[in-house]
């Protein structure tokens, strides 16, 4: 019931209501496609082979221990014993094999998970608890890949039911079970009474405290905030910066700041086609963008400007703010030098009859209002040096359409884009900036929106991937990051925002992987 100022004692049982601002998934199985909303909810019922602490250390989870061969091509995983999925199917090596094959099957239409296990050639079920991964090439990021929700392990019997059924209610080993999905309304998760595989973020032994989680979708930020304040829901995600600020002052609302790992939030410039195929034009754009005042005003101090391709939570992150100093005169000079010297009646630069226009599709489902406002400010700032930016707010599927490459097109239909793709660890750099990333995954998604095709960068990333020496790896990634930054293909903004506001509940923690919240320890206090 709403209201009730006094902080009551946490108690067992009850129903927690979670309100998500993300788009409602069309499939609850994070293997299919693989976006953040799926990771969010699947954290409650699916668990990965390995876990990861906030400082980046890989820990056991469904796999107790693992060993890698010297050539880095064979990995042996020992699974926990006696674990069963909630449908009673035992968790064994065969199940792991089925899951990896499921991810790699083009019919599954996986994007994130598919990229994560791209180097796994085959999984061999040595015996019930031993799964051997054969790799096509060394992959130092394999553990990070397997720690993510998008590669979490599901019941093979569940997968065998076929895509439609599995999408409606995937079966895992997690603390909750998908009970009912009423599309557009809510997803009901009930407690898994036999839960016994807590991850690294909890000390709990046994089932969760809550009886039930009701997962709702409230797309409107103001409504979501109102629902939290009025006590209809206990947890909301994607709060507005002003809501975070007022939550920090309110005593009954807790704020969880859990930036996503891997990549930073950035604007990517499409280097594959004019005008951003010219580095001078890219630099001009970045020199003129001047996002800092906007970030301050819009985010009210809840975020920090980043100058790195990696999130601040990544220990290997490397930043260089000297490359991003705002300099309008320099931007003008660069554009002049690049041949964009004429201006049309609107003051937009021209070259050979072509306007200096930038199409910037914005996914409204993946970006809060403050971010869209920031894009508008950048639009206004670069306008001063002669860029004509068209911001097009789009629904998720239309947005995929806008950045995709359909048959018969002569070029891509975007020049700039901000995509929320991320994954655990610096390996994200390889997904996002390796020229392999221009090739679409089976789902049609391709991650390298900047379309960087730099052989030297590719080499650095490949080498880092193959190396198991942490220091060498860190050094290689540092070099790679410097190359990426110097290419002016991306404009880093800030960590990928991942805030939660909670009210009337304690014990909400976030995973060290993709910072999704888990309610295994949560108890209601109202």
């Amino acid at each position: 019931s709403p209201g009730g100022g006094g902080a009551a004692e946490p108690h067992e049982g009850g129903t927690l209501v979670y309100a998500s601002g993300d788009a409602e998934p069309t499939c609850l199985d994070p293997h299919v496609g693989g976006n953040y909303p799926q990771a969010l909810i699947s954290t409650q019922y699916l668990e990965p082979l390995v876990g990861r602490t906030a400082d980046g250390t890989i820990t056991p989870w469904l796999a107790e221990e693992w060993e890698v061969s010297d050539d880095g091509l064979t990995w042996d995983f020992t699974l926990r014993e006696g674990v069963t999925f909630t449908d009673g199917t035992p968790l064994d090596a065969e199940a792991v094999k089925v899951n990896i094959e499921h991810l790699q099957d083009p019919a599954t239409g996986s994007s994130t998970g598919y990229l994560a296990v791209g180097k796994v050639a085959e999984v061999e079920a040595v015996d019930a608890t031993h799964a051997r991964f054969h790799l096509s090439e060394p992959d130092s990021a394999l553990l990070e890949s397997l720690s993510m929700q998008w590669t979490a392990i599901q019941s093979p019997a569940g997968i065998a039911r076929g895509m439609e059924e599995n999408c409606a209610a995937p079966i895992g080993t997690g603390p909750f079970i998908v009970d009912e999905w009423v599309p557009q309304q809510q997803i009901t998760l009930v407690r898994n009474p036999d839960y016994r595989t807590p991850g690294p973020q909890t000390q709990l032994e046994g089932p969760a405290h809550l009886d039930e989680i009701v997962w709702r979708f409230i797309p409107d930020a103001a409504t979501r905030q109102a629902a939290l304040v009025s006590g209809e829901v206990h947890v909301i995600d994607n709060p507005q910066p002003d809501a975070i600020v007022s939550a920090q002052q309110a005593e009954d609302i807790e704020h969880i700041d859990a930036p996503r790992p891997g990549s930073v939030n950035r604007i990517e410039l499409n280097t594959a086609q004019p005008p951003f195929d010219d580095i001078r034009v890219r630099e001009a754009f970045i020199r003129a963008a001047d996002p800092n005042p906007g970030i301050e005003a819009l985010y009210l101090g809840t975020v920090e400007r980043s100058y790195s391709p990696l999130a601040s939570t990544e220990p290997t992150g490397e930043s260089d703010d000297s490359l991003f100093e705002t300099d309008v005169a320099e931007a003008d000079a660069l554009l002049d030098a690049a041949g964009w010297t004429e201006r049309d009646a609107d003051g937009v630069r021209m070259k050979d009859g072509r306007r200096l226009s930038v199409r910037f599709p914005v996914s409204t489902n993946q970006s809060v209002a403050a971010e869209q406002s920031l894009f508008e400010q950048i639009q206004a700032n670069v306008r001063a040096v002669g860029f004509d930016v068209t911001l097009t707010p789009l629904d998720l599927s239309a947005w995929y359409g806008a950045i995709g490459f359909a048959e018969g097109q002569s070029e891509y239909s975007y020049e700039a884009v901000s995509a929320p793709y991320t994954r655990v660890g610096p390996e994200v750099l390889r997904v996002l900036y390796h020229s392999d990333g221009i090739e679409p995954a089976p789902s049609g998604y391709f991650a390298n929106h900047a379309q960087l095709a730099d052989p030297e960068l590719d080499a650095l990333l490949d080498e880092a991937s193959a190396s198991h020496d942490e220091d060498v790896r860190a050094d290689l990634y540092a070099q790679a990051q410097q190359r990426i930054l110097e290419s002016y293909a991306i404009l880093p903004l800030y960590d990928q925002q991942n805030h939660f506001l909670t009210r009337g509940v304690t014990g909400v923690t976030t995973l060290g992987t993709v910072a999704t919240p888990t309610f295994v320890d949560a108890r209601l206090t109202d």
Partner: protein, 349 residues
Amino acid sequence: MPASRTDAGAALRRAPGWLRWLAGRVGGALLVVWVVATVVFFALRASGDPLEAILGGPGSQASPEAVAHARAEYGLDQPLLVQYALQLWRIATLQLGDSYARRQPVVELIAAQLPATLLLATLALLLAWALALVGATIAAVSRGRAGRAAVAALRGLELVATVTPQFWLGAVLILVFASSLRILPATSSGADPAGLVLPVVTLAIPIAGFLAQVSRDALVDADRAPFATTARSRGAGEPRVLLHHTLRHASLPALSLSGWAFGNLLSGAVIVESLFARPGLGRLLLDGALGRDVPLVIGAVVVVAVLYVIVVTAVDAAELVVDPRLRAPRRSVAARGTPPRTPELAVGS
């Protein structure tokens, strides 16, 4: 064929009045569906590759199997006329196809969402009626300078109500009642009474404005009508005149506008349902339109059209109950001005 049609026509002309009336209604419903199907069919062909639209816009990256399946299902390899016939046949037999985004039959999706919207719309319509009649009553009983001022204020309020964007109104209501006063929930997931309050109010207010205008005019007319003076001359007091005489007259135009109002409510449901995170047909339709889920949208539109016909039919029946003049023979029908089917000057609903 022409012969059989004449036979049918003649048979229909001989049929009792209510049967003819019903036949007209069903015919209307079929026509609605036919027009919708035709519009969609040609719009889809005009907009580019219908396959792409059927399979979910340019971003869908549908698998070759899905493409082949859809091609066969919609007969896209057939001549245009066959495709058209196929589309009509599919809709006539309620084969609305599968939503590409939700991987479920459209019929099931709509059936699941319909009750929530119907509940919302019905409550809103009732509230709008009530508000309209209260407003009209205030206008009719107001006397003197203060009364005139009250009526003027009421008229202004009605006018503003009719043009206030619902999404704005709803946002303000959420701010006041959910965020600040915390007395009502901002969202509603189903039929919980408290959660329904704000969405219903948001939905009802613009229509209440329209209905209040027509009811007020009708009530003022009725109040000035000789029969009201006659009732007073029999010793009836104001409450009695209102309850037994004039209010019934005032409710007639509001009743006959209900079909239009219902359409307007469905428009409003699109906004209100997404604002208050309510499940329902409106939100389904919006998601469908945003995601270019064409089978889903067609299905929703067909359902809305059929609903509209049902509602108009029900309203006609209700009017027969309330207004005996409509039942009486012709001579007296002429005595009654035809009530407005739409508020004079509303272009859409």
